[in-house]
Structure formats: C-alpha cells, structure tokens
Symmetry: C2
Subunit: 657 residues, 2 copies
Amino acid sequence: MNDRNVAVIFQPSGRRGRVEVGKTILHASRELGVAIESICGEKHTCGKCKVRIEEGFFERESLISRREHLSPFAPEESKFIAERERLSGYRLACIAELRGDVLIYVPEESRGGKQVIRKAARELPIDLNPGVIGYYVELPRPSLGDPLGDFERLHQALKKAYGLKDLSIDYLALRGISVKLRAAGWKVTVLVWMDREILDVRPGRVENFYGLAVDIGTTTVAAYLCNLASGQVVITDSMMNPQVTYGEDVMSRITYAMMNPADGLKRMKEAITQGLNTLAGSTANAAGIMPEDILEMTVVGNTAMHHIFLGIDPQHLGLAPFPPSIHRSLDIKARDLGIQIHPAANVHVLPIEAGFVGADNVAVLIAEEPYRKDEMALIIDIGTNGELVLGNKQRLVSSSCATGPALEGAHIKFGMRAAPGAIERVRIDPGTLQVRYKAIGQELWSDECAPGEIQARGICGSGIIEAVAEMFQAGIVERSGRINGSIPNSRLRKGEKSYEFVIAKAEETSIGQDITVSTSDIRAVQLAKGALYAGAKILMKVLGVERLEKVILAGAFGSYIDSERAMILGMFPDCDLQNVCPVGNAAGDGARVALLNREKRKEADRVARQVEYIELTVYPEFEREFTLAMHIPHMKDAFPHLKGILKNGPFEKGTDR
Amino acid sequence: MNDRNVAVIFQPSGRRGRVEVGKTILHASRELGVAIESICGEKHTCGKCKVRIEEGFFERESLISRREHLSPFAPEESKFIAERERLSGYRLACIAELRGDVLIYVPEESRGGKQVIRKAARELPIDLNPGVIGYYVELPRPSLGDPLGDFERLHQALKKAYGLKDLSIDYLALRGISVKLRAAGWKVTVLVWMDREILDVRPGRVENFYGLAVDIGTTTVAAYLCNLASGQVVITDSMMNPQVTYGEDVMSRITYAMMNPADGLKRMKEAITQGLNTLAGSTANAAGIMPEDILEMTVVGNTAMHHIFLGIDPQHLGLAPFPPSIHRSLDIKARDLGIQIHPAANVHVLPIEAGFVGADNVAVLIAEEPYRKDEMALIIDIGTNGELVLGNKQRLVSSSCATGPALEGAHIKFGMRAAPGAIERVRIDPGTLQVRYKAIGQELWSDECAPGEIQARGICGSGIIEAVAEMFQAGIVERSGRINGSIPNSRLRKGEKSYEFVIAKAEETSIGQDITVSTSDIRAVQLAKGALYAGAKILMKVLGVERLEKVILAGAFGSYIDSERAMILGMFPDCDLQNVCPVGNAAGDGARVALLNREKRKEADRVARQVEYIELTVYPEFEREFTLAMHIPHMKDAFPHLKGILKNGPFEKGTDR
C-alpha cells in the first residue's frame, strides 16, 4: 500500500481494494473481480463500459471520491457519453485513469454478470389464488332505455357472471373505463384486486397478467416476476441493495438515518425505490412485458428494511424496547410509494413480528408452515441479520441475532455475492489437501476443466461455509478456528497478518490472484455461526426442547447450503441430517406465496401475531453460549448425528477435549 | 364601435365590451364594471393593480389576444413585476394602454370585490356527525415488557376509549406517527375518517379541525370552510369557474374536450383543480389556518363538472343515451386529485343521478329532503343548467333543462355575478315608473342614499328576475316579452337594436353609464324561465300531479329570489306563495350537509338511486309547453294564487287574451 496506490470501491457489488495510480477503471475492475462489459477489447469503440463516479465523503468507507480523481474527460468519451451524462459523472471505464480515491457505480447495463438467486423456481405447493384476478365479461351496450353508468354496468356484469359484490374502483382506473369499454366493444377482462377493487379493464380476453414478489434483504434484493394467471415464476432477478452505500448492516443504516435527520431516511428510501423500479423494469423487459403489466407487488424484508422502504423513520427500532411503527400487513398504492408498475397497482407489505423479526421472517414462516406441523423444527434464516424460529403447531418462538454479512460473502477477503464466478462448492482431500471446487456459471467442477476455463472471481456464502467445514475436516483448521500453520503444503502459507489457505490458484481465476481463506475470514464465519447456534440454544431452553427434529436452513446466500457441512461447522445443534433441509431464499418464497395466494396473507397476519419474540440479550446465559459456540462445531455439545463423519472433534456428549 | 375601439374581456368575471384605444386597462375595467384594486390612485406607486394578459385565440369570444396589443412594458412596472411574472404576461393595469383586443385575467389578489354567496350561514338543522372526528387518547409508553408497535398501541387506545375497531391508517400518516407520538408525550388527538382510517395524529387535545364543502357550478364555484368540531361555517368564498375560458355552458365544455383530445380535458381539469386550491388557500388564510388543516373536502357539481373535476372524459355525456362514467359516490385521496389540503385527506364526491342530473342535484335533495315529506314539492335549482325534481316520499322524478346562464347574470348586457355593486333588488312604481333598487354591498336602497354613494356596477341573477317582473307589473313589458315603446318616460328609450329601460342612471354607477334592461335581455330570461316551466309541466304530467303544494327555489344567483316576482315572471306553475321557498345555494348546502353528517352521505347514495330521471326531449309535448311558457307568466295557465297581485294578465283559467 504505497502512495502510488489509490482506494477504489465498486458499487453496487461493494468490491473494494487498492489499485495502482494510472490504471484504467476497467483494469481496476478486473483486479478487484468486478465484471464490467467490454466488447471491443478496450479499443474505445463499443461504449459498453460506462460507469458513474459518485462524489462525496463516504463515511463507512473512509473515502473521499471526486470526479477530478480521474484523468480528464477525453474527447473520445463524448462519442458515447452525452453532455447530461457527463455532468452526472459518467465515464468510460476503458479510458478514465485513476488519479485518486474513487467510488465507482457500475450501472445495470454495464455489468458483466448478474447475481444468481438459486432455485428461484423452487416448486412450492402453492394453491393459485392470487391477489389480482382477471374476469372476462361481455356487457350490454347502454341505450335510452338502459342508460346506466359505465361503472355500474360493469359491476352488474361482474356480479352476474362471478358473484362479485361491493366492488370499488381505483381512481386512475375509473378515469379510463368509459373510453376503454367502448374501444373494446364492451368485451373486456376486468382486473380485480382481492375481489374488492377494479384496477383496470383490458380489451378482450387477457390470458396473462403479472405480479412481482420482492425480498428486500439488507445486502441483496431479490425479485420474482410471476404470471398471476398460471402461478409460474417467469423471471428472477436480483441486485445489491443500493442502500449499502449508507451502511452495511441494519444498525448502521438506522444510525445513518439518525445522524442525517434532514435527508438520510429520504435518500435511503429513494435508493431502494429506485432499486425496485430497476428490478421491475429489468424483469418486465426480460419477460417481454411492460412494467405497467405488473398489477401487484408483495414485499418482505426485516423491520428496518420495511420501515425505510416505507419512508418510516427507523430510529426507534434502534433503541430499547425496539417497537416498530406498525406490525400489521399493509396495502399501499404503488404510486404513493413511487413504485413504477401499473398505476393502480397495490403493494402488499407483509406484517412484522417484533422489533428485529420482520416481514422477511413471516414470509419464511408462511413458506415453511411450521405452525401446521407436529415436529419440533428450528428455522434459521441467514442474512446480514440472522433470524431464528423454533417450534411447531403448539407454539412458536422467534429471535434475531446480528450475524453480519459474512455468510452472504461479505467481510471475507475474497467474499462476493452469488454471481457468476463465485465459488459455491468446495471439497478438500484430507490426505493430499487437494482442492476441488465449483463456481457459479460453470457446469463442471474445477478438476474437470482446464484452469483457464474456470474464471473464478471469489467465494459466495455457501462456498465459505463449505470451505471452512472442509478445512476443519482436513485438519487445516483447528476447533478454535486457528489455521494450523505447521502442515506442509503449498496451498497453506503465511499471509499478511495470518495464515491463509489457497482455494483457487491465480491461473484459475479471472482476477489474476489466488483466492484464499484466511484466519480472519474464518473468524468472521465463527462469529456468525456462533451467534446463530447460541440463539438456537436459548430458544430451545425457552421451549424446554432437548433435541431438534428438523432444521430448515434458509437464506439468499447463493446455492443451497450443504446440510452436512453446515452441521460440521456448528451452525446449529445436532439433528438427524436427513431432517436438515436447505431451502434457499425462503423469505423470497414467502413473498411469492403471498403474491399467488391471498389466503396466505391472512395466515401471515395470524402467525405474525402468534409468534412470541424472545429478546436474546435479556438472557444472561446467551453470552456464555455464544462463547462455547464459537468453536467448530462447538466447545461442549455433542453431535451424535455426525458420528462417523466428524473427523476432528467430539460427536457425543462428554467427549469434550 | 369604430376602429378606435378594441374588444376587452376581463376574466374571471367574464365582463366584456369595447373600449377606446389608448385607455389604460384600469380605465377599461371601470368602464366595464370590473373592480380592480388601486390604492394609490394611479400614481403607479402601490402595484396593487397587477393583471395578466392571456394570449391566444378565444373561440367563444371571437377574440385574438396578444401581449403586443398593449403599450410596451414600462420601466416603472418592473418595480412591481418580477421578470418571471413579466414573461407570464403580467402588467400594471394603471400603466398598460390598449392597442388591440385583449383578454385580461384579474388575479384574486388584485380583485376589488369578492362574489357574495348569500346566506352561506343558512341555518340548516344538521346533526353534527362529520366524516372526520378527532379522538383524544393517552397511550402507555412502550417498554421491554410491552414492546407493541406504535400503530397497534394507538389502535388499542382508540378501541378502549371509543370502541373504534378495524382502523386502517393512511400511508402518509403512518410515516409520521412514531415521531409524532413521542414528540407529543404519547398524548394526542387522532383524526379519524369515517371511524375507518387514521389521517393524522396531533399533539394534545385539538379542539378545532376543518373541512371544505365545495359546489362546482358551471359558472360559479362556491366553497364553505367549516369547523368540523363545531359544525359552524367559518368562511365562505367563491370564484368564477376558471373553466369558463373553455366554454360557458356544459355542452360547450364537453365539445371543447372532444375537439381537443390531446389536452382539452387535462386543461379543464387543471383549471378547476387550481381553482379549488385557490379557494382552499383563500378560505384557510381568512380563517387563520393552513390548507393542511383541512381534513376532508366534499364536492358536488353537475355530471359534466363532476367528470371534468375527476379527469374523466365527458364525451359520452354529450351523446344519447348520456350515460355517466359512474353514478355512485366516491372517496378519493386529495393527493391523487392534486388537491392541496391535508396530504392524507379524502375528497368525498357525491353521487350522480343520471346523465345531466348530477351530484349538485343530489346535494339539493339531501339539503331539502323531499323524500321525507308528504307534500308534492317542485324543486328548481337554477344554474347554467336548470335542474328540476318533483315528488314526495312516495316517488321522485327529476329532469334537467338548458337554461343558459341568464339567471346567473350572464348573457345579459349589464349582467354580472353576485359581487359588490350588483343590483339584486328592483322595485318599479307602476304609476311614475320610478325605480328603486338595492345593490350588493349597500345596506340602503338607492332612494335612501346620494346617487354618488350607490356605485352600482351591473345586475345579478336575482336582480334581473325582479327587474323583468316589475317591468311587467308596471306595464313596461308585455306578456310576449316586448317592451312597450309607446310609454312616455325618460327611463324608456330606443337603444341600439331595441327598446331599453334604465334601472340605474349613470351618476349612480361606478361604470359611468346607465344600467339598462333591454328587449334582448328579457328574451334571455324568457328562454330560461320558459324551459324551467315547461320541464315542470312535463314532470307534473309524469306524476299525474295537478297542483304544486310547495316550490323550492335554489341557485347561487346572488340573494334569494323573491317568490312573488319569480311567480309573476312565470318561472314555475301556480302555487300558494306561502309555500314558495327560496333557499339560495342549496347544492352548496348539500355539500355542507354531507361534510358535517356522514349519515347524509348514505342518504345521498340512496336517493340518487331512487330518483327517476325523465328525459324531457323524448316528450313530444315539451316543445309546445316551452312555447306557451315563454309568455309572462304563461300563455294559457292560470295563477289563482296571483289573484289581486298580477296587474297585467290572467290569473284564472280561461281568461287568456
């Protein structure tokens, strides 16, 4: 890190690092594993590598970004960058050279690879009963003998054909019906929300109409465009939550709102609104429809994301007793929220349980339905905040713990979100310490293709869990989390501050350097998993539960977590591995379930009221449990179901060493 | 009218005439009876006489208005007119001189006298049960043992104290509650709409909160600011409907929308929206409150005004079978309509009966309640369109006829709206033909004060009815409507085209010329009253009614119509004069009733469905009845209740001459 290096951060990926002065932005992006489109091979002829330089002091990043921190705007750039764009800070990444610290925003259209949300089309048994239904009717034309008003005429036909009663009509829909009914020859499909409100009339029989289910995670926002007529997921897309600029976790965003009372909340709200509009546009575009064809949106998110999305000051969430502004579910006109879908569309926001257990957790519950089952299940939803629910149809308790974003791939040196090039599977031979891995976007494992073909860029959440578990199983990592530096192997070396183990060699990557896992990376994973484990123990104590009958692993961390390796790592207490079920982004599934089945919304309202929230910090034993759970898999607990699997630790009670 | 004269029209009053080239706008305004503020006496020092020159071709006025049709902008004007205003066409009326035809808009703040809506505070027996009610509650503070969300906490308190259940909260209100509850120390007044939706919370006990009732007439818009806590009318204000630029009557506005499909409707909608915002601002200002303190608005108007206000294409109202877009009442967020009152406020729009019998008529009905009574009543609502309702609690029929704006003071040479200086009462001595009159804004009659004190400017609707009836009684006007030119009297003279009779002499006016009633003015009144009379006859035929037991005269034409003179004129069939009741602006009263009593809204919805609409034009006898009714009071019908009163015609059946 000398003076000839400058700090560079790429948004929205959040990748950061120091790069030599004089290098182009495109060069820097490759060094830091950020994919920017570049078709012409830096000949300055394609204009695909447009990026925007953000100005200002970025507190969390300790970085001052100025447009003058780049080489002056070159005449060639003006071929692709209009004057208005230039004034907004746009540059071509292949031309602009680094002179000082910069924060660079890579717009959607310039991004080289999109994040992957796995199993978007997970087959959930959803009874199709969406919030918006299209009803086809043919109306009698008005005459002097039958001069009834157009709305009443429409209502009468809907009542006669479908038994719909007491319908209202959205004001914007009302403005158009007279002209639309006549243009359609009085044969129309009426789009009705919750059998209560007419949103639009469309000519003839309309077979397809759409809704968007959205999961606003602290770090990642996932969107599922669904065909409401068929129930199919048409397009899945995701993006980094654009609020990351204002803080990486929930508390720092609440703090940002408090420290910037004038416009902090407004800026974060606008960032997520714009983000959702981008996703609505991109999914609609990919499906060949218009954003106006999206007739409803369901939204889930933790309490802070929920509040900020709604423009509600989140400051009281940050102070005991952490009451939210509102628990219940909401239906708000998209236009009131600034969401650019159908102008009459409603946005259904799922209810909140308690302070930190938000609508995302409710969504997980309606997707997994523990309240219908006898078995004692633990649901772990892993995100920047970890949420836990324990129980069955008798009783459900929930809690929340700050896991940090490590299990989502952040705060890990080579961590990245689940985008192409992210290592998601890792296997280490305990004998040779040879590593095999699989990167997102590749069908084959690393040992099945030539090194140059792999193009790994980093490690995502599921990859880091497997890597640490495998390193532990291979003896590279000790139970305390320390890397055993005494093992002679070329992959194991002393890094800057601590030992590190090479997962992918430089020649297998697109970033030109080894992808490693270091002691400090492992520490971040331990902190996260230790908090989850300790939280689970407290909940078990509250319910008087000795053993888990089922564990459900949810989270948008890339591919499904491998059950065995998650248990080896000690993410949760012992359970029959057959009954450990990774379900991917269950919060997103819940948003989709609510979009496609209106009865599940009622269920969400009910369960949100029934779940009992447990504040972990009021339990004095939490601290002790946390310390014990920092070990891999645990300092004291036995894991009878890992008998024969666990190579480096106790698997039965009492074998503590 | 020589070449040295130019055409000048003042808006929003609609006063027009020809004025000598070289005169200032202020001079022209005095000549045409338009009051513009001028405090400094044309010394160019007060800047109060700002007006705006409208550019363009005004079809209905056959006038091309250009800013160059005035003397160039003088340096002195820039002392009062900012550059931005100058570019919008602002001038000082005391400086700018006429060079060509111009349409001049006199902004609210420059107007010398405001329209008077009489009996704004008419004492109606309204049970106070407004749409918005303020509930005071004190909430327990949240604690770790009671971490309930803020909305739920509020709801619980409202349920406990007032039994309110199933409340929702407006989205914008939700955004503010957490901060407001804490700032108020958890003691707040909750403003709740229809016991259904929370609109706002305010600190402590709030004693006063407000609503605005609005009657959108084709020509005049009246607004009543009411204290919802006390039921009192606090401020009454009115303005000319700013849409008059686009056509003086309903059909011409519908035509304007059809002929200008790109933006005709949009322009008219924006004009009335801006007009209502002006009234909300002016009434709030006069009451010492903010427009944001207005928590609900009720709106009535005929079907075309209703549609245009809502931005609904009115074209189908202009074609048989004239179906409206919607009959039922509506509650729409003020923000969706662009109405700038409380951001969470709702606008309640009363229901429509049929094509041309609109929400204004429904408003008259809920104010007068004929559906509760035994007596057979005829309700005449006189406006640019005349609406008729006949019936009692057994059955009600309604109809509509084009009366034109004559009875509102327009299309009459010296006609004007009911503003200070308008002659509203007229008495003529049948012997001497001496005239006494009373102008709005004067306590005394014309013969009780010095001529220079009277400052008459024109005749309003109630004045023209009295003038014609008195002229008839004095023998100046014959039954056919012709002025008898053979009477020797200095007040009777041959005008440009026909005879005219002087009501006010030049020295008694502020316009420096005689105010007269001519044969063509009388013809306009006859057309209007003939249509009303013929319509009433058809409705009586439909119900099989021989005699009227009650006549209710409604309309915003200035002061109350004099019952006797209205019957002498022949505005309606014979009725005991004791039972002819002038009620002023009953549509405005109905808007106020609906604002202050939510049960009356239900009543409005019911009666709008029950009233049977009668299309007069399908009755072949209508034409003949109309011809007969053109006479004063009628060509054939007897008026037994005018026995001993009527000096110049038959008062019993069979005395036709």
